[in-house]
Each structure stands twice: as structure tokens, then as C-alpha cells.
């Protein structure tokens, strides 16, 4: 059994984050950038790129287990992320599998406690000193 790491809180999500991510990733979908187009599509506001949220959670796994630790990462997009949301990355369980590998059950949660992303990962766990 591997210890579960402490949750990581992210600063409140800003519209600027979606623009920065759009330019860095190439995902220029206007539903993430233009409030008028988002509202025309029936949304209350622009929403985060799903892969932006996936990158936040992946970054949390790297902070917990080290860069390059993941050998698998799978994400299910469950709810939109809106400007102002406060997100928390949680590792819900960490189960040692074979050798120095562990399987993680992960989630990215909003302030209402809803999982906006659920995810799983397999990581290499180096040493035993945590």
C-alpha cells in the first residue's frame, strides 16, 4: 500500500488562463475564449479547455510523485470548469501493484465538492521515504 498524498489547491481559475492555454496548446475553440460565442451556444460563460484541467491534474501527479513518474494517465471529463472556480487535485487512493508501480485513483474537484475530472494513473514510486 502506498500513502495517498495531500490535496493540492489551485488559485481561482481566470479567463486569462484559457487564453494562455489556447495559445500554448493550439486549442483555439471560441467556446473557451469568447463569452459572446459561448453564450450563443447556450453556455453561461466561457469554460475551460478540458485538456487545461487535465494538465492541472497531471501537474499535481508530477508534484506528488516526480516528473516522468507516470506511465499511464486516463481522464474522464465530467463537468465544465468556469472562471472563478477553485479547484483541488486529490489522490483518492494509491495502491501498490507490481515492483515499484502504484495505481492512483484521482479527481479534480470544484468548491462544491463535485468532480470536474476523474482520472486514473499508474506511476513509478521511487524508494520508500515518500
Amino acid at each position: 500500500m502506498t500513502r495517498t498524498p495531500v490535496p493540492i489547491d489551485f488559485p481561482p481559475i481566470r479567463r486569462d488562463d484559457f487564453h494562455l492555454y489556447a495559445h500554448a496548446s493550439g486549442d483555439m475553440n471560441p467556446l473557451h475564449l469568447d463569452p459572446a460565442q459561448a453564450q450563443a451556444a447556450g453556455l453561461p460563460d466561457v469554460m475551460a479547455q478540458g485538456m487545461y484541467s487535465a494538465a492541472l491534474l497531471a501537474g499535481a501527479v508530477e508534484r506528488w510523485f516526480g516528473a516522468g513518474a507516470m506511465t499511464r494517465y486516463g481522464v474522464r471529463f465530467r463537468l465544465p470548469v468556469w472562471p472563478g472556480d477553485r479547484l483541488q487535485a486529490r489522490c483518492l487512493s494509491a495502491m501498490a501493484v507490481s515492483g515499484n508501480m502504484a495505481d492512483l485513483d484521482l479527481g479534480l474537484f470544484n468548491a462544491a465538492g463535485q468532480a470536474v475530472l476523474s482520472a486514473s494513473a499508474r506511476v513509478r514510486v521511487e524508494g520508500s521515504d515518500g
Partner: protein
């Protein structure tokens, strides 16, 4: 329907600038290592083109449902990657508000020596409102 439609190959260079921009945009501290989801930079345009030109879908009407990665070997700054994409499944499923079409596109990245580095699968959902 399960299909295996080849969507072609393309080359992509992992530059220090693009990795630094991606890290900054996702709140990651500066580091020369390539973040786990970085290859979205090389893939998102290809996937949008596949949705639009091959599957005749409006990318703005598709919902990104799932994303998976298998990391085989590290992707490093300075590498030239060759991506290849294919449609691995295209199925219809009954959902809460009608029929849904679910499409999965797999992308594989190899290095210049043709060693596999990374596999990623993108699953998108298209709701068919009012259609049986």
C-alpha cells in the same frame, strides 16, 4: 461500428519555447522536462481536422469525453516526433437525451529512430438531438 481509418502522419519538433509556454500556461514551474499532456500541442489541430474533414463533424458541437495516455519513453526537448493518427472506433450509443455518437481517435508518437514514445487516445461524443 468499429473502424480503423488511417488519418495520416505528420512531424513535430519539441522546442524549448513550446514546452516553456505550455508549462507557464498550466501553472507548472519552469523545468526542461516535457509535461505529461504536452503532446496536445502536436495533436489538437490534427484531431480537429479529422473531425471536420474526415468525419464531417463540427468540432464546436463535439464534447471531449475521455483522454488517455500511455507513456513508453520520455519525450524530450529537441526531439523530432512523427505522429500517426487513426480512428479506432465510431459507435452509436443511447444516452440520457437521445442517441450519441462516440468516436475514438488514437495518435502514436515515435522518435526519429522510429521508437514508440507515447500513445494517446481521444474520445469525443456527439449528441444527436431529436434523432432516433
Amino acid at each position: 461500428m468499429t473502424v480503423s481509418a488511417d488519418l495520416g502522419t505528420w512531424d513535430f519538433e519539441v522546442t524549448a519555447e513550446s514546452v516553456a509556454a505550455f508549462r507557464a500556461a498550466t501553472g507548472a514551474p519552469p523545468d526542461e522536462r516535457v509535461p505529461p499532456t504536452f503532446t496536445v500541442v502536436a495533436s489538437s489541430g490534427m484531431i480537429d481536422r479529422a473531425l471536420r474533414d474526415v468525419l464531417r463533424l463540427d468540432p464546436a458541437r463535439t464534447v471531449h469525453g475521455e483522454q488517455t495516455y500511455d507513456y513508453i519513453a520520455p519525450v524530450r526537448i529537441g526531439q523530432r516526433l512523427r505522429g500517426s493518427a487513426r480512428i479506432v472506433s465510431d459507435t452509436m450509443k443511447k444516452g440520457g437525451s437521445g442517441m450519441m455518437r462516440i468516436v475514438t481517435i488514437a495518435v502514436e508518437y515515435r522518435d526519429a529512430a522510429s521508437h514508440a514514445l507515447l500513445l494517446r487516445e481521444t474520445t469525443v461524443i456527439i449528441e444527436k438531438r431529436g434523432q432516433g
